[in-house]
Symmetry: C2
Subunit: 316 residues, 2 copies
């Protein structure tokens, strides 16, 4: 009987690692630096070595390990193939095959945002549900769709790209992806800062107008909002309108039980839900009205929790 | 070993029925009228009686039947429960349980548009794929999302409601669902007729302007288009822009290998793809550019093919 599994959440700066019991207890977690030099050729060998060392240190035999679940910042096919990751320097890489050969363990790979969503379903804000969506509001906007307890991967691994929903066909500024009008342009930390800059150029009913517009952050907006600032309220309304609209589009297609909001922006707390839920209700298809909203609870550990779940569920 | 299964596609006028071999051959198909009187209380007993009679006529023993797959015009939960169907007169109905008790057979139920999508994946336009979307352009617009070979049902059975994607936040006319700006308002046969009426009110560069505006149909538009009519082209551009945009939103979330276009409007033929694909490419996230488009091939039989697949796949 397998009693352990490993999880690796590979990011552009660090690889977060976890050792879990097969019933879902986090036994140990640690990090190693991500070496992105030479097209990231050392990332998987370094990850493998760290896992093998952990097994030796803890006298864990390979036969007692279900395998390794992995999250990577790129689209990943159901077979575990990545066709390029800007953050890691990778071009084509068969992550599942390579890491499996390096460790002798079974490997299952998913996109990091999708894997984090799976983690939040298992042990976080979406606990107890099997149809849920997580949206991560960070520097960019990531997302993951969980359908009947499993990640919606899509044909090329690009399922759940909620941040690139086209929510404004009038937009003339370009998103990092090359399109104009992506949700990420309004709902990411960067997007909220931009909404704030645009607002203070034309209004002075806010403390934000007294700051250097170029250095305004999403945190500045939500801090001012909590102080009752009128302008910050207006900026948050605009943010929430785009986000509520985008989430209503998503709900029309995937009908989730719960929508989990995570990422740095969600650290502003429950107050952000007050700005997302009303526009969602306004735009939602009648069957989706009343969809539950909640904040993510696992923070930066969502990735390793989800990666563990990914490998534990494999083949089920 | 089970060697047969039954399929029932329950519509507002008729119930289409099919007898299939377990390897996917259509052995027989027939129809019975749908009796929607008294909240549709007789629909399932009539369906059950027709199936039982077919078994008796063909000397098929219950032990040789995998079960019955069913499509119904309503959201259906994964357990086979309907919470109201306007077309059938049903309020709450546990379709799977009731039909199973009436026949002694296992029953698996899905939404009719979702089930038709499954049929097109199995034996129609999406053959050979496991990640696909079908959109049905009829009086309304229906849709089905197939992920890894299975219907995306969603929490309450309302997954894949592509027709109710909000594609125009400026719209002031109301969709049948109560919202404004649903894709159905521009891409259904009814929606295209409306675009045509609005067009001829303001333009005379079309043969359509010589007809009674109130009786214009989608077929009139596509017939004129095939004759090189300038106005019909402009109407089709508007239809295709909304539809291509809506499909780009869907692709951003579910990343299908192929998009299958079905329903009465698709009878206009390949020419409609010329109006849908370019705007799709314009609005699509880069990972979804190049998604394949094709027409549905099973026509009105898609429902029974998909219902058969639904029951044959159950438990796999």
């Amino acid at each position: 009987m397998n009693t352990f599994c490993f999880a690796a959440d590979i990011g552009g700066t660090t690889v977060k690692l976890g050792l879990f019991s097969s019933v879902g207890e986090l036994i140990d977690k640690w990090e190693i630096p991500t070496d992105t030099k030479n097209e990231g050729i050392k990332i998987l060998p370094d990850t493998a070595a760290s896992i093998v060392k952990k097994m030796e240190d803890n006298k864990i035999d390979k036969s007692a390990v279900t395998g390794i679940g992995v999250g990577v910042p790129a689209p990943v096919t159901a077979e575990g193939v990545v066709n390029g990751s800007a953050n890691l320097g990778w071009k084509y890489k068969h992550v599942a095959k390579e890491l499996s050969e390096l460790t002798g363990l079974k490997v299952k790979v998913g996109n990091d945002a999708n894997v984090a969503a799976l983690g939040e379903m298992w042990k976080g804000g979406g606990r107890g549900e099997k149809n849920m969506v997580m949206i991560t509001l960070g520097t960019g906007v990531g997302g993951g769709i969980i359908n009947e307890g499993r990640i919606l991967t899509g044909e090329g691994g690009a399922g759940g790209e909620i941040g690139h929903l086209g929510v404004n066909r009038e937009e003339t500024k370009t998103c990092g992806c090359g399109k104009c009008g992506c949700l990420e342009q309004y709902a990411s930390a960067t997007g909220i800062a931009r909404l704030a800059r645009e607002y203070v150029e034309e209004h002075d009913d806010t403390v934000l107008a007294g700051k250097d517009a170029q250095s305004l952050t999403a945190k500045d907006v939500f801090d001012a909002l909590k102080e009752g600032d009128e302008g910050a309220h207006n900026i948050a309304v605009r943010f929430g309108d785009y986000l509520g609209y985008g989430l209503s589009l998503m709900a029309t297609l995937v009908d989730p039980a719960v929508i989990v909001i995570g990422g740095g922006v969600s650290k502003a707390g429950e107050i952000i839900l007050d700005y997302i839920q009303p526009p969602f209700e306004k735009y939602a298809f009648f069957a989706n009205k009343g969809t539950r909203f909640t904040l993510a609870t696992l923070g930066n550990d969502a990735g390793i929790w989800g990666a563990a779940k990914l490998i534990l569920d494999d083949g089920k």
